[in-house]
C-alpha cells in the first residue's frame, strides 16, 4: 500500500481495537448462529430430548420431501413476482423516460417508494382486506365492471400468485426509483447519436438504455431476490402457507418445523439451503452484469 493511504498518526495495528467490539457482537449473533445452524442440521432433534446424529440426512430429506420441494419451488415463483416483474416494470418506465424529461420526479419518487417503508405485517393485513372475498376492494372493483369475484388467498391456483402480487406491490417502487435514477445518468449524447443513426425506440432501448442500466438492474435484482427468498411475514399473515401447502415457502417451513413441528434438524437444514440459494443467485446476477459490462 502506498504511503498516502497510511493511517492517520497511529500504528495500523490499532485498527483491530476499533474493529473488535463490532466484530465480537457480529460474530456472536450472526456468525456463531450460522455455524450452529449447520451443526444442528446434522441432527434429528425435537428441541427438548437429546438429539440423534444423522449426518447429511436432513439435507437429503429437503430434496426428497415433496412438501419441501414445493416450498422451494414456490420461492422461485416469488422471485418472479418480487424481483423480475418489478424490474421489467422499471425498465418499461426507464425506456419511456429516456426520451422525455420529466418534472416533479421527486414527488413521484416519494410516492413510489412508500410501500418499501411499511412493515410487511401491515402490508399483509392490508392486502388481506383487499383480497377479502366479501367486500374486499378487489372483488368490489371487479363486481362493478361485471366480473365475478374470487377467493384470492383461499383457492389453490390463485393463492400463490396473489401472495406474489403483494410482494410485487412492495418492490416495484424500489426498482422504478433505482432505474429512473440510472437512466438520468446516461449521457444524452448517446441518445442523440442513436437517433442520428435512425434508431427507433426499440433499438434505442436495447443499444443505449439497457446497457446503461446494467448496474442498476443488478442492484435491483439483488435486493428484491433476497427479499423473495427470505419472505416470511407476508405469508404468515395472509395465508399461513395455505390453502394446503400451496403458499408455503422455505422461511415459513423453518418456523413451522422448528417451533411447531419439533423437527429442528430439518428446519436448520432448510435455513442453510436458504443462505446457499441467496449466495448462488446473488453471485449469478452480479456475474452476468459484469460479463455484460466486459462486452
Amino acid at each position: 500500500m502506498s504511503r498516502a493511504l497510511a493511517p492517520p498518526g497511529e500504528p495500523r495495528r490499532v485498527a483491530y481495537l476499533y474493529l473488535l467490539p463490532a466484530l465480537v457482537v457480529f460474530a456472536l449473533f450472526v456468525l456463531a448462529p450460522l455455524a450452529h445452524s449447520m451443526w444442528l442440521s446434522l441432527f434429528e432433534w425435537d428441541g427438548v430430548t437429546p438429539g440423534t446424529w444423522v449426518g447429511l440426512d436432513n439435507y437429503g430429506q429437503v430434496v426428497s420431501d415433496p412438501e419441501l420441494r414445493a416450498a422451494f419451488r414456490h420461492s422461485l415463483v416469488l422471485v418472479g413476482f418480487y424481483a423480475v416483474l418489478p424490474v421489467v416494470i422499471g425498465l418499461v418506465l426507464a425506456a419511456a423516460m429516456s426520451r422525455a424529461r420529466v418534472r416533479g420526479l421527486a414527488l413521484f419518487r416519494t410516492v413510489l417508494f412508500l410501500p418499501q417503508v411499511i412493515a410487511l405485517v401491515v402490508v399483509g393485513v392490508m392486502w388481506r382486506m383487499i383480497y377479502a372475498p366479501d367486500g374486499g376492494l378487489l372483488n368490489e372493483g371487479l363486481g362493478a365492471v361485471g366480473v365475478g369475484g374470487q377467493d384470492w388467498l383461499g383457492s389453490f391456483p390463485l393463492a400463490l400468485p396473489s401472495v406474489g402480487l403483494i410482494g410485487a406491490w412492495v418492490m416495484y417502487g424500489l426498482a422504478m426509483v433505482l432505474l429512473l435514477a440510472g437512466v438520468q445518468k446516461i449521457p444524452q449524447s448517446l441518445y442523440d447519436a442513436a437517433r442520428v443513426d435512425g434508431a427507433g425506440p426499440v433499438r434505442e432501448f436495447f443499444t443505449v438504455t439497457l446497457p446503461g442500466l446494467r448496474n442498476e438492474v443488478a442492484v435491483a435484482l439483488t435486493l428484491t431476490t433476497i427479499q423473495a427468498l427470505r419472505s416470511f411475514d407476508i405469508v404468515y399473515v395472509t395465508t399461513g402457507g395455505g390453502p394446503g401447502d400451496s403458499t408455503s415457502v422455505p422461511a415459513y417451513e423453518v418456523y413451522d418445523r422448528a417451533f411447531r413441528g419439533g423437527d429442528v434438524g430439518t428446519a436448520s437444514a432448510i435455513g442453510v439451503y436458504i443462505v446457499a440459494l441467496i449466495f448462488v443467485l446473488v453471485f449469478l446476477i452480479n456475474r452476468v452484469a459484469e460479463r455484460e459490462a466486459a462486452r
Partner: protein
C-alpha cells in the same frame, strides 16, 4: 427536442403506478375510519369514526406494543451506530493484516437473513434463559444491523478527502480524536441515513419477536398486530386502525427524512 406524446406517456405511467402504490394505503386509512364492527371494507366507507384509533390504542393494547418497539429500536440504533462507526473507520481509513478477509466476513452478513439463523438463536437464548427479555429482541438485531452499518460507514470514510485527515494529523490529532472531532461532523448525513434505516428495519422486524417473545408486555408493534388480527377476524375497522398505528412512526420518519431513506436503500444496501 422533446416529443410531447412520449412525455404524456411517461406521466401516465408514473401516475398510474403512483396510484397503485397509494390506493391500498388510502384504503386502509379509510377502513380505519369506518363504523366499527362492520365487515364491509375499503369499497364502502361508512361515516367518519376516528374513535377506532383510541379503541385500538387502549383495548388493542397498542400503546404497550409501541412502547416495546420504541425501546427495542432505540437500543438497537444506539448500539449499532456506536459499534459501526469505529469499525467502518478501521476498514475505511486503516490498513491491516487480514483486512480483506474480515471485510468479506461482514459482507457475508449482508446476505445471511435472520430467517436462516433464527433456529439456533432461539435455542441459544433459551439455554441462557434470555427468551422473553428485551435482550432477545435487541442483540440479534444489532448483529444483523452491524453488517450494514460497517459496510455503510466504510464507504463513507473511503469518500473522505485525505487532505482532511492529513491536516488533522499535522495538528497532532490522534486517530481517535480525528475520528470523533474531525471526521464525525462531516459524517453526520451518512450517520443519519444509517440510523434511519436501522430504525426502520428494527421497527418492522417480525420473525425475531414472534419466536423470542411470548410475554404480552414485550410484544413489539408488528407482533402485536399479528396477534390482534388473530383475535379480530371480523372487526376490520379496528384491525385497520391497529395497522395504521403500527405503520405510522416509520411513515412519519420517512416523510421528513425521505432523502435519507431513498439514498440509503438505493446505494446497494443489500439488507432489507
Amino acid at each position: 427536442m422533446i416529443d410531447r406524446r412520449e412525455q404524456a406517456l411517461t406521466y401516465t405511467l408514473l401516475g398510474v403506478f403512483s396510484l397503485i402504490a397509494l390506493v391500498p394505503i388510502a384504503g386502509i386509512v379509510l377502513t380505519a375510519l369506518q363504523a366499527p364492527g362492520e365487515l364491509a371494507t375499503f369499497g364502502a366507507p361508512s361515516g367518519f369514526h376516528p374513535g377506532n384509533f383510541a379503541t385500538a390504542w387502549d383495548e388493542g393494547n397498542f400503546s404497550s406494543y409501541l412502547r416495546s418497539s420504541l425501546m427495542v429500536a432505540v437500543a438497537v440504533v444506539a448500539a449499532s451506530t456506536l459499534l459501526s462507526i469505529p469499525a467502518g473507520y478501521a476498514f475505511g481509513m486503516m490498513r491491516f493484516r487480514g483486512e480483506q478477509a474480515l471485510f468479506y466476513l461482514f459482507l457475508l452478513g449482508l446476505m445471511v437473513p435472520l430467517e436462516a439463523t433464527i433456529v439456533p438463536l432461539y435455542y441459544d437464548f433459551r439455554d441462557l434463559a434470555l427468551t422473553d427479555t428485551y435482550a432477545a429482541l435487541i442483540l440479534p438485531q444489532v448483529g444483523v444491523s452491524l453488517a450494514f452499518g460497517t459496510f455503510w460507514m466504510r464507504a463513507f470514510f473511503r469518500s473522505v478527502p485525505r487532505s482532511l485527515v492529513e491536516a488533522a494529523r499535522i495538528d497532532g490529532s490522534s486517530a481517535w480524536s480525528t475520528l470523533w472531532r474531525v471526521l464525525l461532523p462531516t459524517a453526520r448525513p451518512a450517520v443519519v441515513t444509517m440510523m434511519v434505516l436501522i430504525f426502520m428495519w428494527t421497527w418492522n422486524e417480525f420473525l425475531l419477536a414472534l419466536v423470542m417473545v411470548s410475554d404480552e408486555g414485550l410484544r413489539t408493534a408488528p407482533l402485536g398486530l399479528a396477534f390482534f388480527q388473530g383475535r379480530n377476524t371480523t372487526d376490520f375497522a379496528l384491525l385497520a386502525a391497529g395497522a395504521v398505528i403500527v405503520a405510522t412512526p416509520v411513515v412519519l420518519l420517512y416523510v421528513f427524512l425521505q432523502r435519507h431513506f431513498i439514498r440509503g436503500m438505493l446505494s446497494g444496501a443489500i439488507k432489507g
